[in-house]
Symmetry: C2
Subunit: 262 residues, 2 copies
Amino acid sequence: PVRRAVIAVANQKGGVGKTTTAVNLSYALATLGLSVLLIDSDPQANATVHLGIDPGEVETARKGLYGVLRGGSGFDSILQPVCNGAFTLAPSSIGLAAAETELVAEPDNSLVLKEKLADVRERYDVVVIDCPPNLGLLTINALAASDLVLIPVQTEVFAGLGVPLLMETIAKIRRRSNPSLNIFGILPTMYSARLTQDQASLKEIQAHYEGRTRVLSVVPRATLFAQASGAGRPAIEADPNSASVQAYTDLAREVAAHLIAR
Amino acid sequence: PVRRAVIAVANQKGGVGKTTTAVNLSYALATLGLSVLLIDSDPQANATVHLGIDPGEVETARKGLYGVLRGGSGFDSILQPVCNGAFTLAPSSIGLAAAETELVAEPDNSLVLKEKLADVRERYDVVVIDCPPNLGLLTINALAASDLVLIPVQTEVFAGLGVPLLMETIAKIRRRSNPSLNIFGILPTMYSARLTQDQASLKEIQAHYEGRTRVLSVVPRATLFAQASGAGRPAIEADPNSASVQAYTDLAREVAAHLIAR
Ligand SMILES: Nc1ncnc2c1ncn2[C@@H]1O[C@H](COP(=O)(O)OP(=O)(O)OP(=O)(O)O)[C@@H](O)[C@H]1O
Ligand SMILES: Nc1ncnc2c1ncn2[C@@H]1O[C@H](COP(=O)(O)OP(=O)(O)OP(=O)(O)O)[C@@H](O)[C@H]1O
Ligand SMILES: [Mg+2]
Ligand SMILES: [Mg+2]
């Protein structure tokens, strides 16, 4: 039987490929036949835009994640099919920014997303959560609601500097509210194979995590990714056979294998 | 006479070149003979690392911006010379993250940085503030303390999506606490001249802001930037004659011209 899992895509550093990973992994898992929910937990709503949905309309209709975390709505009222029904999106909009401060006063404020997600999570084999570039309450809620954390890291000097702090945060949540939280792995992103410094950074990542944490297939830097997001679709949907997206196909297979194995 | 200015380098989107811009602009202005203070207002302390200073040591010594915003220290107690004394850095460390929530309860919580900066700002022709990838209280404090805002934007699809919200935030601060706050300009970053989509995105940026906001010289994508930050120095210090850093030299000249003109 395939067990279910909630996977947070997290790294507080900006622009490392969290959204691109969340969107392409969701689609790749759906292609394998799994039912997938992607939660856009970033007020900047890049995943929502990336899938062709207008966050302005989500905001006007009050059909975004904010309504679920603060407005008393259930997830059912905001879910939308995306990629021709391949998977489901819980979209975000700018109003979600208010949740960061409003949640501060809430009791057990790290567990609000987990509570609301409980209503719908058994419909999905995998729930993927796209996190914002910080370790605020939205990221904390995502981690507290998750079984696994996927950490995209650019193959660049200093790209990994924030990872120890993220791991420390994960360890605290594991000790306090979520004993089953585990790191699925480090995903090297935006790799330019011809650049010496990228090669050196990749070796450093592989050496550093060897034996401690999976280091997953490397996502190459490729123009396909921005082109596809410009067209409101995942790169892997736009060009499934491109070598540029192979790492996301591999990643989905590793996730699926992990779900079957455990 | 050269008037003084405080310039916030802001964009809530992650990884768009804020830190790289803050560091290289500071050095370039210093090379023109101006006295410069760079304030690292990001708990991730990338600017601090970029200039060869260890944020861990800053944290242990409690000599970071957090001490100034929350700990009752003055800026004088944390300032450090960088780039062989070319300019001055007010470093950050991870403890600064606590300021985001602690400042919530503070009266006039958007004006704490401005208040503390008043003690030292007249020593400097230019104060540059590196902001984190969000519109939280640290960014708000930077904007409320500034005369000018510099907005780096990648030449990529969707890169400009967050700019209207940033401009809205700036407009609110201008109406409320800071009537002299102005946008200095949009700085296109990480431009790959050979990529059609970068060319299209750049044209779009130029067309969109034409007549409304300066669009500054384009910063090309170049390996020099990561190499230099890896060596703990600005790219423009490492290789001042490289074509890759010309845009930062131009930017410094535009800022200097603006200071003389107004
Ligand atoms: N492998 C890749 N090759 C080329 N461009 C990429 C790749 N992955 C992502 N990008 C582009 O880089 C930019 C940043 O990626 P993305 O938005 O996924 O990062 P992020 O970590 O979610 O950013 P943020 O911290 O702002 O949420 C986007 O414009 C995206 O299209
Ligand atoms: N022109 C450029 N060419 C190549 N790489 C660049 C360029 N500018 C910046 N970079 C690299 O891109 C990455 C992101 O840049 P930077 O840290 O300056 O962005 P940022 O907006 O400050 O990010 P954050 O939102 O996380 O604070 C860094 O690794 C940096 O070295
Ligand atoms: Mg993102
Ligand atoms: Mg930065």
